[in-house]
Amino acid sequence: MRVAYEDRFHELEPLLAHVEKPSRYIDHEWGAIRKDDADYRCCLVYPDVYEVGLPNQGLAILYQCANAVPGVACERAYVPWIDMADAMRAAGVPLLSLEGAAPLASFDLVGFQIPHEMAATNYLEALDLAGIPLHADERGEGDPIVIGGGPSVFNPEPLAAFFDAFLIGEGEEAIAEICREHRRLRDAGASRLEVLRGLARLRGVYVPSLYRLSHEGPCTPSGYAVPRVGEDVPPVVYKRVVEDFGGTDALTQSVVPFAQLVHDRLSVEVLRGCARGCRFCQAGITYRPVRERTPDQIVSAVSRGLSATGYDEVSLTSLSTTDHSCCRAILRRLNRRLEDTGISVSIPSQRLDSFGVDMALEVAGEKKGGLTFAPEAGSQRMRDIINKNVTEEDLDRAARAAYLEGWNRMKLYFMMGLPGETDDDVVAIANLADHVLELGREVVSKARRGSLSVSISVSVFIPKPHTPFQWCAQLDYEDVKRRQKLLLESVRNRAVRVHCHDASTSLVEAVLSRMGREAAGLIEGAWRRGQRFDAWTEQFNLDNWIAAGEELGLDLYGIAHEPFDLDALLPWDHVSPGSSKGFMQREYRRALAGETTPDCTRTSCTGCGVCPTLGVRNVLVGERV
């Protein structure tokens, strides 16, 4: 029996007085969509608190797309912060959607965003609060179909036990197909298994229970998934790509929160995909091909979006906004239009060359905070290995231009533990940071010298599925800590501030990136030991993860630090962003040889395989510089 779809806000309301930030739970935001007469209901869930989840562009897009289907209502839910979750459990209040304040368990479909590996325990937290059985194979006819999708779905295996289905790739069209097909089957009286088989026939949908594990032939300890005998499902599920990205509405946001968010602004996606080919980067593969929107479309969406939402900031989002072939023209047109309104434009990251500084200048006002660049590695040798096609001269020019234009604070992103890295390469990070600071002291006036600072943020390399480094091990845990110390000791200037990412979190992230279905017990064990909101540093506790692993005989350090054979079948080989394994292997070998590979939006095809495999192509609206 399905739980009734009904408004239960009155049960939640008495709790609001006693939790932090009650506005997380009250709904009634401007632009929220209510469809009271719908005959099919889905609820999209972001696996973190409201203010982290609301700005998520993927869910905003799906919210619009699903609500555009006649008869389908799409609502939202977020994971209550621990104070509220505990209060709800104590009061017996289940997890409710925002719009209808209805129990999650009353929906036909519950769709989780899968933003990154560290959200793993929060799916369990949400399902448990919702009263939905944690394991897909324990769910009955009355339970919702639980589906996952998003950027981190390209190794779905660690989560396979908890999800009925995954959507691999872009959801604009697929979400409508999934809702319609599920409704059709439901109305025809189909069983849960028949529904799942039906969904598995849709392009891009992966139903893990219709696959079994095999350990035959060369493979990793996790084995690999193959279709169950008798199931008519594809051996490889290719990602969905929206038919005509340029034809979709660039304005995808309608809900304007009351709560103050991490990114409290209008976001307009100006382009999708990045072909720069950094070899550690998963998004650089999984978001291909590259597709740009036209300047007209972008300017119009910004205008409509600002007047519909009332935001005072608009962010032009993408993996690399300054790569848009019309970036300069778009920024000029927007600046003209927004003159005297107090509304500002922002771009999420700066390209590491003088063009990047030019563009930063276009969006900066009188107030110049910090400028952020991502050289990713300290030495040219390492930058060649990772295919970050940036030279020290590029960085010099960019930094020099930024100082001359008035910026005093520079922020640099690096990665540590990259394949082939030596202690010298770590020292090179410190040297580069010192160099950038000293360069500033040379070019700025004496009066400004004291205000200059460089801060560097150094994350730990995590080998991600579907990248040329997917076979690599993570740097040994103790070595990470040693190199972090080496880095701190190698910085000469006090005005260079070093922030190193937590080695423990990175270890678990690597484990969850590389494991297969056997990770389910690990995730559940960690959650049962109290882990939730692992993406929040103060909530993360490695001991609980280690203990959960030990109970299952899993050595997390060993899992993170063991490289895979180049010819082994990998746990994620049956879901594909369209790239060919031959390309990945070639890129891996080129990396070891220090050979770089160009960007196919600026030169010719580099043979990654995405276009021919998925029947797509890059769409540029101008010449890239």
């Binding site: 007085a17 009250i26 009351f258 009332g310 005072d312 900031e313 003209r336 006002g365 107030k367």
Partner: protein, 271 residues
């Protein structure tokens, strides 16, 4: 978690470098401004919004309404708008006010209608009109504030009245806020009060209070003190927004008027 600084990328900063591609700066002219004063409600679920959340929501509504709001000059340009004093989380109101400076005159009824269409119903503007650009700010103008508290309590009307009378005789109520010892100056801020029955175990308590730059009365603190009085307790009071009170298990606070003092000692509405 970091946020990009607000207000960057604005136009009145165009005079920068040769590389700057924006239009040339315009000569500074004294702009003619209009000051629109708006009364709005805060009710229902939105009573749980904090003051900053309300402010942000109103500024967004003003932009959605397409009103020609004025923007401050300087490093971090922002909308020129002023508010009445903060309403605590959980407190509703029939009489919140803001002043927004406009660069063009939009007839009052039209401005109100546009604001209503751009606002959440529970933060609905209900009255709008123009006041002098150089009139005192709302926070300086308003010195008389009324609250109505709906409360449920197991005591009789007489018991409650007696306790309230005892509390109202106090000169001050000490309490703690964010680890600091504070004092609510009751003698100065509490004018008068009325208590009426409102059904079985339910009462209306109306507080007529005085406010100025030095202080105002937070109804929660008074209620917490009343709770101590009712059960003969000397427990310390902490200001934590909505209070957990033993003898007053349920209460709701609503601001019912905000007025200033007129020339002849009579109170006047801000509009």
């Amino acid at each position: 978690m970091t946020r990009k600084a607000k207000g960057s990328g604005n136009s009145n900063t165009a005079e920068k470098t040769a590389k700057q591609l924006r239009s040339a700066p315009r000569p500074a002219i004294e702009q003619t401004l209009f000051r629109l004063r708006v009364r709005y409600v805060k009710q229902g679920r939105l009573a749980y919004l904090g003051h900053l959340e309300v402010i942000h929501s109103i500024e967004r509504a003003i932009r959605r309404a397409g009103l020609p709001y004025a923007v401050s000059q300087g490093f971090s340009p922002h909308m020129r708008v002023g508010y009445t004093s903060a309403l605590p989380v959980g407190t509703s109101s029939t009489c919140e006010w803001f002043d927004v400076f406009l660069t063009a005159l939009v007839p009052g009824p039209e401005a109100l209608e546009r604001l209503v269409r751009a606002s959440a119903p529970d933060l609905r503007p209900v009255q709008a009109g123009y006041v002098g650009v150089r009139d005192p700010a709302l926070t300086a103008l308003i010195t008389r504030v009324g609250y109505r508290i709906d409360l449920s309590c197991g005591m009789s009307l007489e018991e409650l009245k007696a306790s309230m009378a005892a509390v109202s005789e106090l000169a001050e109520i000490p309490y703690e806020r964010s680890g600091k010892q504070k004092v609510l100056d009751l003698a100065k801020t509490l004018g008068s009060w009325e208590l009426e029955p409102a059904g079985e175990g339910a009462f209306h308590l109306v507080l007529h209070t005085r406010a100025d730059n030095e202080g105002s009365l937070r109804p929660e603190i008074l209620l917490a003190r009343l709770d101590r009085e009712l059960r003969g307790s000397t427990d310390a009071i902490a200001s934590t927004g909505i209070q957990d009170l033993e003898s007053i298990p349920v209460y709701r606070v609503e601001r019912i008027y905000q007025r200033g003092m007129g020339e002849h000692g009579a109170t006047v509405d801000p509009l």
